[in-house]
Symmetry: C2
Amino acid sequence: MGINRKDFIKHLGVAAVGGAILTSCKDQKDQAINEAYDTKTSYTWKMVTTWPPNFPVVGEACHKFARQVNEMSAGQFTIKVYGGGELIPSLEVFDAVSSGAAEIGHGASYYWAGKSPATQFFTSVPFGMNAQQMNAWLYYGGGLELWKEVYARFGLLPMPGGNTGVQMGGWFNREINTVEDFKGLKMRIPGLGGKVLEKLGATVVLSAVSEIYTNLERGVIDATEWVGPYHDYTMGYYEIAKYYYAPGWHEPGSNLEFMFNKRAFEALPKNLQTILEVATAQSNMYVLSEFEAKNNEYLQKIIADKSTEVRKFSPEVLKALKEKSIETLEAIADGDEMSAKVYDSYKKFQTSINQWAEYSEKLYYEI
Amino acid sequence: MGINRKDFIKHLGVAAVGGAILTSCKDQKDQAINEAYDTKTSYTWKMVTTWPPNFPVVGEACHKFARQVNEMSAGQFTIKVYGGGELIPSLEVFDAVSSGAAEIGHGASYYWAGKSPATQFFTSVPFGMNAQQMNAWLYYGGGLELWKEVYARFGLLPMPGGNTGVQMGGWFNREINTVEDFKGLKMRIPGLGGKVLEKLGATVVLSAVSEIYTNLERGVIDATEWVGPYHDYTMGYYEIAKYYYAPGWHEPGSNLEFMFNKRAFEALPKNLQTILEVATAQSNMYVLSEFEAKNNEYLQKIIADKSTEVRKFSPEVLKALKEKSIETLEAIADGDEMSAKVYDSYKKFQTSINQWAEYSEKLYYEI
């Protein structure tokens, strides 16, 4: 899953937003978190999201979040949810919430790699942790504290906000039997997944989401990734792709995000702060559960349709992808101090929780 | 994990409670759910739990739940949390909430198998679903609706309230190399796990939690299960057991529960109903994450201590356990109409989500 990187870069250099961030950082130091209760003052906030309007599961979860916050606050707190492009373009969400133009955002932190490379570790990295492991790291392994540190510089407060679970590896019109088959492959795969494939000789072609289908059909690209069976099915790729490969080694459990304008959040009465925080955890739980509940139904439709063959990458191919993934992650850590700090925490936690998985989840799946 | 079944049975026949249930059922029909907001009326509710006071992770989560409900409601809603035995014995939680003596309970639905055998499917069954799968079933696969149906008969409203993740198979002073080794094994293992082992010739010995250590040390029992490394370590079993076996085939992801007195819940103003519901989902997310984050640290302590050998059950042993488990589950379904309905939903969902796991979680763990 990813958003057009060109759109992203286009919006990075907005000078006015840069100024707003600096002001916001300075003010933060003097600002205390409001600990008082208040059930009288009404609040109406804007929530901008990176998702298409009414995007299944994730966009719906944003609306559910807003509805429940309104109910919990007995109507005191109203949140208006905007899909990508409805108020601002998807990739301006970070800047809009940072500047306070909107108070809440929902997206995925790896969209903001241009702001700080360390953000990528808080969504998903190739051969990284799955959903359950990510949540353990974020809530109880120091991950969320690091994420808060990265975002504080931009006047933002992040919270986990849903997880896709293990994604699929993508739709291909060329067989991938050996590592050699990546050479010359034109694939739409943004972010770190794309960097890894480039190391194996593929050409990354980025395009707007609306153009993927046509590009794949016309051979402009040989392959594309998207999310998992449920979302992929609605995009219709099974009609035009020969192979659907598993697993999504590049996104084994993408954690989505709520981001709050830190200043606005901290100025809220304590009751509303807690309402927002608790509601984000519910979204996190519900989004993953809905993905997991629906993916097989659509995987079976794809299998039944017979125009696409569902396959698994070979161990040899996965081994090569993993090697290049680790090189890619290490290069990020080498190039940026904060990324090094985050990667160190991430890597240690992953190693540890995988030791436990040998006796629990992994072992249990093997039965 | 389990509670002394003898204590449990002792409290089943309380006639006064039975009467209260019938009254409550009748009244329910006439009762509409309150949809109005009210931020003025104060509520002070009692929450009784099956856990020892300050039980790590789970007991702590109950206190966190109470604190956050209080904050979200700006002090309107106070919940007093009681550990097992502080207000009532652990195994009276169901009856106490059913009768309205307490408004909220926290426990595990399989403790109430004597009330309705179908309750067992909502915690964990041998060779059943793991935590992520259980949540998918409960929230988006019809599981919670069935659970509500089972509990409604007792004037109760259940909600998922945490998950232990895959548990461990237990502490043994006898090697389990083949199925034959279960013959004559004296093990403390309550519930369905115990029934399965009995089919393989083991003798189930139930004892109060406080007596497990001594019984294992003195050879009154050859083996015991508990939870997973974090909780097991604090019980000190590693000091006296030769082997620590994985995985917890009998509890591959035990879903814990909040239960509300249905009448009391439905009479609450809508804002407080939603606060409670959303807070349960946060507990669910946090409890699993904390277990997952802490288990390896304690597993490594157990490994480092060297007085216990950490082992995995052999594929042959697991195959035999699985066969007997399926027999056990089918017998429950055969003997009770509601169990048949729940097991049918459970089994179909498990089959389906495991098809998806072949391309996602399971495949990813294999890399």
